[in-house]
Every structure is written in structure tokens, then in C-alpha cells.
């Protein structure tokens, strides 16, 4: 082995802890990319495979009562590969030992053969067979929530008749990856289950013999979805069909899509930030590290080594470190990515998982990392190599601060010389000081970016459930009821106040843009359920719109007496502005088609809803003041009584318990976001520690000789250690606010990727997030300092006397 290579290995061994710290920083950057992209691609691939294998429908429609024979004509629609007619109805559930009222969605199974569309994956047991009147297969989430197994029993009120059902199978369906009960915004598996039952039994229970009220279509690859929808709508119109819709309006798919979109945003935005930050840090650290070798480089040159040979020597050194980092990153990233995929896979209840290993991200992250490391080393080596060996072998002359000293010497005399040393050292090399400060800032920034999503989600939950929808429960009737139902509800035990609402399925159109949505009608000045949003007053600064950054406060949007209030997202999709007219095609009742002006556009976090004053909506529908549901506030003390009444009152049909679902939602969000945050934060901490430790170590290397000399002169370990601590403390204190600022920017970029049709995540960073990021850094710096302190304590005093600087 060549002497130079031996030197490299010995250098590496001598600085192993530092090399490892650098490698770990790099590993964190590489791992984020691999885990995020890996998990996203795996889940996306899994979903595609799941949809395909279990023939998830492309188009969905419902009707009140269509004759079974119609399905043949539906199958003849050009582009349709398969169609399945069935019955879907809500049922009230009564489960032993479960106090809350729960709902079930009864779905009929084809009488002959297995389903051609939306096939079931049987987790355990089997499907109900013909003639089994009490047999039911239930979805796995619901089963898990209640501990149901094959053989378990519960009661259900099907169309007013209570009966005991036997669980014969537990299944999964691509159609109900997310299943949300009536009146609920978010899934609550305890209170909502899917009940697959025999077709004949369902027909008989709901008086729908030889009829269906729901149809799902699988399309051929070359089919045009809009054409099929149009065709289907015409066929179903006579039978009370509401407009058909594609996957993007199918709740389960939309919710899953929004989740995956968030994951994808995380994978597209966060890892590049991490990777860029880490490679930048690596570049900086290695530059400083190689700069320390200045004398050695000068000596090698004086001995007659070629510049390229010397540069290669140092490049080899950093390549070893970079390769180590990349390797750790590969392992860590793959492992965490699989973990994340499993976690989400469990959460989505995918029956199987497809792990995607994409070579491109491995190659890209490795290439970027090694390149950054080599560049850092080469730059430093080259700087020294351009000097003559004689100059290189001497320490750089401290010419820079002479002026500054002269002017302030009187002042400086009052400060201790140790402090002067610290200040001079910082001033003498502003670049080095800046680089250390920037390193600390970037670690802070990475932490802020990985921590803040929790704040935003919490804000969204708070805005939705505590400010906007403050009702404890919502009754939805499934059909329209006369206004006196409000009094009926108000008389129920425990109901403190009740507010009616009306929802109408519509299709809105403006020019070539159209969207299927709901208009929600409300009486003016509601208290429980308010329409909240941000009044958009754009704040322009340097040409950019800062309004959404500056103002996150919500106000109640007062509904206009006539005209529509649209969320900004819906207005965007329809390309309408305030004052424009939209065509509203009502999809129920008389199916009126009317032009309505848009009077208010507001920002809101969830959904694509449109709102109207209730009276105006009745006028629009040309019908009496009917009610689709009632929001209520419930007195906690009488909750149990209320639930008892509801459970036995089929007329109330479906109840959503917002506060109950909120807990569930929080738990769900917590599981996902917190895990993600935890992973990213841990990696952020790794980066922070790596940067802090390396800064401290390099600081020590740069100052080691002076510090040892001070010890010889009789300065104590504590005094000498303080020099390093004070220096690093200055960099840390300067770096933290800068890091907050950079982190704010990173977070803003990230939030842009979170937006979906289902929700817009507000940009909120709590003070506690900034504080936490700062605390983590302080802890990392302190721990690094303690480790380095031990080295200060063990400085070899005699060695420095033997050698020339």
C-alpha cells in the first residue's frame, strides 16, 4: 500500500467519530429521499394493484328504484366493461355493550355468481349464501373496532325491523377503504360498518324486489368517462337517479387520494430540502476539514508530490466517508420506507402490499451525495494547492483585523484576553463563522419544517370542529322532511338547541368547467354550524400574494340573501369570480336548471361546498322549506338517554356524532402525521447533532494548539473549555433565529404541495414549534460540547511544544 493511502486510512481511524457524524448527516438526507419516495410509490402501486385485481368501479350512480332489467341496457353503454346492480341502504345498529348509536350501510351481494365489479377480499370466513337470511359479512375496520369475529352477532334495524345478524365473514373492499357514516366528516369504524348481505334478503327488507338503487361500472381502457356518465344519467333519470359520478367524487377514493397526495407532497418537497441541506452541510464540513490539512498539503507539495496526487488523496478520504453515509442512508431509508408503507398499508387496510424499489432514487441520492463531498474536498485542497509550499506550511497571517484592533484597543483592554481571542477568531474568519452559523440554522430549519405539519393539522381540526362545526351531533334523514321535524328533534332528551339544514346534490357549470357538488342551505345567523372562512384581502408584497401567510384568522361568512357563497377552491375549479353567473343543475326532485350569481367567495380548509341561505335554496328548488338534517347541541348529562332513544327510533335514521368522530380523527391524524413527523424529526435531529458535533470538533482542531498552549501557561481546563463553548454559543445563538426564518420558508414551500380538492391545509407554525426546534439544537450543541470538552481535558500539552505550528 502506498504511504499516502496508509496516511488516509490512519487519518480516517483517528477521526472516526467525526467521520461517522458526517456520514450520519449524509445518511439522514439520503434516507429521507428513499423512505418518502419509496413509501409513496409502494402505496400508490399497491392501490393501483388493489383496484385492478378487485375491479374497483370507475363510475357510480344511485337511483330510488330502478328495475333489475335495466342493468342489461347499462351494460350495453359503449365503453362499459362490466356493470353491477345492487341495493344500498342505511341501517341503524344496536351493538351489545356499545352505548353510542351506530350506522350500517347494507350492500346487497349478487344472487348468482360473484361480483364483477368491486370484488371483495375475504379476510376470514365466507360470504353469506342464498337463503341465509341472518348472515352478514362485515368490513374489517368495523369488525376490529368491536372485536367481531366469524360467529359474532349484533342487531340491526333494517327498514324499521330489528333483527339479529350473524357475522359469517370479514371482508375488505376497494370501494370502502375509507368508509364514513352519514353526517360524519371522518371515518369512525366503531360507529359505521358495511354490511354485505344476500340480495334476496335486502330486496325483501327494503321492499325493492326485482329492483336496484345503486350501480357501479367498470370501464374499458378506451372509454370516455364523461360520455358514459351522460349515457347512464339518461337511463337512470326516470328512476330517480342522481347524477352519476367518477372515482374522483367517490368518497373513499377521494380521501385516499388526498392522503396519498399529501404523502407525495411530502416525498416531493421535504426530502429534496433535506438532501440539499445535508449535501450543503457535508460540503461545508469537508471544506473546513480539508482546510485544516493546509500544512500537510504544503509539506506534501514541498516533498514533490503532484497537485493532482495530493488532491486525489483527500478526495479518496471524503469518498470513503460519503460512501459510508450513502450506505447507511440506503439501509435506513429502505427500512423506514418499508415501515411507513406497512403502517399506511395497515391504516388503509390494503389486503396486500406491493413494495416498490426504484433504482433511480438510490442512484440519484448516491450521486448527489458523493459529488457534493468530493466538491467540498476538492475546493479546499485546491485553495491550498495554489499556494506555494512555503506559504502553505505557515499558518495564514492575521492581517485582516489589524485596523479594527487599533481603533478599539483602549476598549479591548477592559475585556479579558480570552474574550478577545474568541472575538478575534470570529472576526478574522467571517466565512468560517458564517458557515458554522449557517450549518446550525439549516438544522433548525429542517426541524421546523418537519415539526410544523402537526400545527397546521391541529389548526384545521380546531377551525373545523370547534369554530365552524360546533354541533355535537347531526341528524341526517336521507330524504326531505317538513320543517316541523325540527321541533321533534328539539324535544328529544338532552337536546339543547337545534338548527336545520338542507343539502341538495347539484352539478355546477360555467362555460366548459363543471363540478358535481352539494349546495348546503342554512338559516341566516346559525350558531352551531357556521360557515367560516377567510375573507380574502390580498396583501401584495414584491408582487407576491401574502394574504394567506399573514392572516389565518377566520370569520363567519354571512350568507347572502340570494346567490351562492363558494369556497375559493370550487370557484377556482369553475373559473368564476364574484358576480359571475353559474348554471346550477339540481340532481333531485324537479331537476331544475337555473342560473345563480356567485355573491361570496371565501377561503376554507375543507371541501368543495357551496352555501346558500336556506330560504333562497327553497325558492331555487321551487319547493317548501324542507329540511335534510338537523344540527344539535347536546347536554352531556343526558347523552345516554338521547342515544337510547335514537337507537330505537328508525325514523331518525342516521346520526353523526361530530365530537366523537373528532376524537377518532385526531387519533388517526396523530397516528400518521405524528409518525411521519417523528421520522423526519429524528432525521432532523441526527443532522443537527452531526452539524453541532462537527462544528465543535473542527473548532477544536483549529484551536487545539492554542488551547494546549493556554493550558501550559496555567489556564484551567474550564477556562480553556469556555473559549470553545463561548464561540460555539455565539454561532448557535446567531444561527437559531436565522434557522427559524429559513424553516418558515421551507414550510411554506411544503404547504403548497398539501392542497387537494378535499382540503387545503392552513399554514400555521406555532411558537412551540420554533421553541422546540431551538431546544433540540441547543441540546445537540450541548451534548457535542460535552464530548468535545473531554477532548479539551485530555489535550496533550507536551506534544504541542515539540512541534512547530
Amino acid at each position: 500500500m502506498l504511504a499516502l493511502d496508509r496516511k488516509m486510512l490512519r487519518d480516517l481511524r483517528a477521526m472516526w467519530s467525526q467521520a461517522l457524524a458526517i456520514a450520519l448527516v449524509l445518511a439522514a438526507g439520503v434516507a429521507t429521499l428513499i423512505l418518502a419516495v419509496g413509501a409513496y410509490r409502494s402505496l400508490d402501486e399497491t392501490r393501483t394493484a388493489y383496484y385492478e385485481r378487485y375491479r374497483f368501479a370507475h363510475v357510480f350512480a344511485s337511483a330510488t328504484r330502478a328495475p333489475r332489467g335495466l342493468i342489461e341496457r347499462i351494460r350495453e353503454i359503449p365503453g362499459v366493461a362490466a356493470a353491477e346492480a345492487r341495493i344500498q341502504e342505511f341501517a341503524l345498529l344496536d351493538i351489545d355493550g356499545f352505548a353510542l348509536p351506530a350506522n350500517g350501510l347494507v350492500v346487497s351481494l349478487p344472487a348468482h355468481g360473484s361480483a364483477q365489479v368491486n370484488k371483495l377480499f375475504i379476510r376470514s370466513g365466507r360470504l353469506p349464501q342464498n337463503g341465509e337470511t341472518a348472515a352478514v359479512a362485515i368490513n374489517e375496520d368495523f369488525a376490529t373496532a368491536h372485536g367481531f369475529r366469524v360467529g359474532s352477532q349484533f342487531q340491526a334495524i333494517l327498514h324499521g325491523r330489528k333483527r339479529r345478524l350473524n357475522v359469517v365473514g370479514i371482508a375488505l373492499s376497494p370501494e370502502f377503504i375509507y368508509a364514513t357514516g352519514p353526517g360524519d366528516f371522518v371515518p369512525d369504524d366503531r360507529r359505521f360498518g358495511i354490511l354485505w348481505m344476500n340480495e334476496a334478503v335486502v330486496e325483501a327488507s327494503y321492499n325493492l324486489e326485482n329492483a336496484f338503487n345503486s350501480v357501479s361500472l367498470l370501464l374499458r381502457r378506451d372509454a370516455s368517462e364523461p360520455d358514459v356518465i351522460k349515457h347512464l344519467d339518461t337511463l337512470l333519470a326516470r328512476y330517480g337517479g342522481t347524477a352519476s359520478y367518477g372515482r374522483k367524487d367517490q368518497f373513499s377514493h377521494a380521501f385516499l387520494d388526498a392522503e396519498l397526495q399529501q404523502l407525495s407532497a411530502m416525498s416531493r418537497i421535504l426530502p429534496p430540502i433535506f438532501l440539499v441541506v445535508t449535501v450543503f452541510l457535508i460540503n461545508m464540513i469537508l471544506t473546513r476539514l480539508i482546510a485544516l490539512e493546509r500544512e500537510q498539503i504544503g509539506l506534501l507539495k514541498a516533498l514533490g508530490y503532484r497537485s493532482t496526487a495530493i488532491a486525489m488523496h483527500y478526495i479518496k478520504l471524503v469518498i470513503v466517508i460519503a460512501v459510508l453515509g450513502v450506505a447507511i442512508g440506503f439501509v435506513l431509508g429502505t427500512w423506514l420506507g418499508d415501515l411507513l408503507t406497512r403502517m399506511y398499508g395497515d391504516f388503509f387496510h390494503f389486503p396486500f402490499l406491493v413494495f416498490q424499489r426504484s433504482a433511480d432514487i438510490y442512484v440519484a441520492s448516491a450521486a448527489i451525495s458523493v459529488a457534493a463531498a468530493v466538491l467540498g474536498a476538492a475546493r479546499a485542497a485546491w485553495q491550498t494547492l495554489t499556494l506555494s509550499p512555503a506559504v502553505a506550511m505557515q499558518p495564514p497571517a492575521p492581517a485582516r483585523y489589524r485596523q479594527l484592533l487599533r481603533r478599539r484597543s483602549a476598549l479591548l483592554r477592559h475585556i479579558s484576553q480570552l474574550t478577545v481571542m474568541v472575538l478575534r477568531h470570529i472576526i478574522r474568519s467571517p466565512l468560517r463563522a458564517g458557515v458554522t452559523t449557517l450549518g446550525i440554522s439549516l438544522s433548525v430549519a429542517v426541524l421546523v419544517t418537519s415539526l410544523f405539519p402537526v400545527n397546521s393539522v391541529n389548526f384545521m381540526i380546531d377551525a373545523t370542529f370547534f369554530q365552524s362545526d360546533r354541533q355535537d351531533a347531526t341528524f341526517t334523514f336521507g330524504d326531505e322532511r317538513p320543517p316541523r321535524v325540527l321541533q321533534d328533534v328539539a324535544r328529544l332528551p338532552g337536546v339543547l338547541s337545534a338548527e336545520p339544514f338542507r343539502t341538495v346534490s347539484v352539478r355546477m357549470r360555467q362555460g366548459q368547467f363543471e363540478r358535481r357538488t352539494q349546495i348546503v342551505g342554512r338559516p341566516p345567523g346559525t350558531d352551531l354550524s357556521q360557515v367560516l372562512g377567510q375573507n380574502v384581502t390580498p396583501v401584495f408584497l414584491l408582487g407576491a400574494d401574502f394574504s394567506q401567510i399573514l392572516d389565518q384568522s377566520l370569520t363567519q361568512i354571512s350568507l347572502p340573501e340570494s346567490g351562492l357563497a363558494l369556497t375559493e377552491k370550487l370557484a377556482q375549479l369553475l373559473q368564476v369570480r364574484q358576480g359571475d353567473l353559474v348554471t346550477v343543475e339540481v340532481l333531485e326532485g324537479h331537476r331544475a336548471v337555473v342560473e345563480v350569481p356567485v355573491t361570496v367567495i371565501f377561503k376554507s380548509f375543507i371541501g368543495l361546498a357551496a352555501y346558500m341561505e336556506m330560504q333562497a335554496l327553497s325558492d331555487l328548488l321551487d319547493e317548501g322549506p324542507n329540511v335534510s338534517g338537523v344540527h344539535v347541541a347536546v347536554d352531556k348529562r343526558y347523552e345516554a338517554d338521547l342515544y337510547e332513544v335514537i337507537k330505537n327510533t328508525p325514523a331518525l335514521s342516521a346520526i353523526g356524532l361530530q365530537k366523537v368522530s373528532l376524537e377518532k380523527f385526531r387519533a388517526t391524524m396523530a397516528e400518521n402525521i405524528v409518525f411521519m413527523t417523528l421520522v423526519y424529526t429524528s432525521l432532523g435531529m441526527l443532522i443537527a447533532f452531526g452539524v453541532a458535533y462537527n462544528s465543535a470538533r473542527i473548532q477544536l482542531s483549529e484551536r487545539g494548539r492554542e488551547l494546549a498552549s493556554l493550558r501550559v501557561l496555567g489556564f484551567t481546563r474550564a477556562e480553556v473549555g469556555r473559549i470553545l463553548i463561548v464561540e460555539l454559543a455565539i454561532f448557535t445563538i446567531a444561527g437559531i433565529p436565522l434557522g427559524w426564518l429559513i424553516g418558515y420558508g421551507f414550510a411554506w414551500i411544503l404547504i403548497q404541495g398539501f392542497e387537494s380538492e378535499l382540503y387545503r391545509v392552513p399554514f400555521v407554525i406555532e411558537r412551540s414549534t420554533f421553541a422546540l426546534a431551538a431546544l433540540v439544537i441547543l441540546a445537540a450543541v450541548t451534548v457535542s460540547m460535552l464530548i468535545v470538552r473531554r477532548r479539551v481535558n485530555n489535550l496533550d500539552l507536551i506534544e504541542v511544544l515539540k512541534t512547530r505550528e
Binding site: 499558518p395 497571517a397 489589524r402 484597543s409 484576553q417 478575534r424 501550559v712 501557561l713 496555567g714 484551567t716
Partner: protein, 242 residues
């Protein structure tokens, strides 16, 4: 101390059977193999001997930079070998001045500040200016080490060493990196301090001619003091021929 000096010089250092063994892996190096010696107050001693004979090792032990493997080292009757690390630090801070071959100045501090570095933590120091005046550097007080010649840097190091009025001044090849002309100036500074402040001084050198300026000369060989020589007549540094 000064009163005693004329009649019966007080013992500053006493070394008895001092040994030092360096262990690196399986190899043992016996740097000192039993050194007995005493240094008296106000004395100027020169240590001579071939390379590797243990001079620096002994000086470092006397100065509290290193500890002996065996034997006893007494400073004014107090055993150095028994002191803890922090006590040794205080011992160096208050009693010992060092001058080394490679100056070991702090590059980010000026000459004056390098001296002030020590006076700030000493008990009864002189002013930095005073110390620099003693070594003839009044003119260049506000220069940084990189702006000074080797001889000037070494004189700053001496000023730094004496500014705290140490009891002992330990110099390891103070002229090793200097030419004879500059070397003489440095030695003059050392003898001046020895005479004016009565500082006990030990100087290691490879230049045998320098022995002429000492009260006593110790000859080292193979980790021991081979012989001791008392100069009846001392030369001034300027009169030494080298």
C-alpha cells in the same frame, strides 16, 4: 527569599530518583532512569546532553506539564508528584514561566495581549508593558506574532513567561530556532530577568558554549545526570563565542 539568598540559598527544586517510562504498546522507553538533582533560589542552570537523553522530559516534570513514573519531585518542599491535575494547573499558573523553542504564542493576540493573557490570571504580575520593556520590545507591543521575527517572538514569549514574576523560569532550547546574534539578545533577556528578579532559571540547550553563562551545568546522558559542573566565572551572553 532574597535575604536568604546571599548566605544560604534556599532549595527550589529537589528531584530524587526520578524515573519516567513511556509505554507505547509493548515498547517501553526509559526516558529518565533515576535523576537526582537540586536547583537553588536565584540560580541559573544550563542542561546539556545528547538528543533523547531526557532533558525535556525532566524539565516538563519540573514544570508540572508531565508526571514522573517513579521517584520524588519537591518544589519548595512540596511534592509535585502528589498534586492533582487542577493543583498542577494552579502551580503552573502561579510559579512557573515557560519558554519553548517554538514560541507558542497565540496568533490572534498581539504581543501586549499575549503577555496580558498571563498577567490577567497571575497573583502579583507586572504590567505587560513593563515585561515587554525588560526584553526590549516596547516598540512592537501592538504587533501580531505573524508580524514579528523569530527572535522578537521568542522575546515576547520570555516577557509572557516572566510577567507574572514566577519563581522559576524553564526554557527548552529558547535559542534553538534563532541565529547567534538574535540568540544572544534572547539570552541577555533571560540573564537580565535572572539577575534583576532573582528568578531561578533552567535552560536546555544544544549549544555547549552557552554553558558559560550558567552558575551550574548539568550534563545528561541516557536518562541520567552524568555530571555536574560549577562555573567559577560566568560570562555575559555577549561574550560567549559560538
Amino acid at each position: 527569599m532574597k535575604a536568604k539568598k546571599k548566605s544560604e540559598p534556599a532549595e527550589v527544586f529537589r528531584a530524587e530518583g526520578v524515573t519516567k517510562i513511556y509505554r507505547t504498546g509493548d515498547v517501553e522507553v526509559h526516558a529518565l532512569r533515576g535523576v537526582d538533582m537540586a536547583l537553588y533560589a536565584g540560580e541559573l542552570a544550563v542542561l546539556l546532553g545528547p538528543s533523547g537523553s531526557g532533558k525535556s522530559t525532566l524539565l516538563n516534570i519540573l514544570g508540572g506539564l508531565d508526571t514522573a513514573s517513579g521517584g520524588q519531585v519537591l518544589f519548595r518542599g512540596e511534592e509535585l508528584t502528589a498534586l492533582s491535575e487542577s493543583a498542577l494547573t494552579l502551580y503552573r499558573r502561579h510559579n512557573v514561566g515557560f519558554v519553548f523553542q517554538f514560541y507558542n504564542l497565540i496568533s490572534s493576540l498581539t504581543a501586549r495581549e499575549n503577555v496580558a493573557l498571563v498577567t490577567e490570571i497571575a497573583e502579583n504580575p507586572m504590567r505587560p508593558e513593563e515585561a515587554l520593556d525588560l526584553v526590549g520590545l516596547t516598540e512592537r507591543m501592538d504587533h501580531f506574532p505573524a508580524q514579528l521575527s523569530g527572535g522578537e517572538q521568542q522575546r515576547v514569549a520570555i516577557a509572557r513567561a516572566i510577567a507574572k514574576r514566577p519563581e522559576v523560569l524553564l526554557c527548552d532550547e529558547p535559542t534553538g530556532a534563532l541565529d547567534s546574534k538574535i540568540g544572544i539578545i534572547v539570552l541577555e533577556a533571560l540573564t537580565a530577568v535572572n539577575e534583576e528578579l532573582g528568578t531561578t532559571t533552567a535552560i536546555i540547550t544544544h549549544n555547549a558554549a552557552i554553558r558559560e553563562i550558567a552558575h551550574r551545568v548539568f550534563y545528561f546522558a541516557d536518562g541520567r545526570i552524568a555530571s555536574t559542573h560549577v562555573n567559577d566565572r560566568r560570562l555575559k551572553p555577549g561574550d560567549v563565542t559560538w
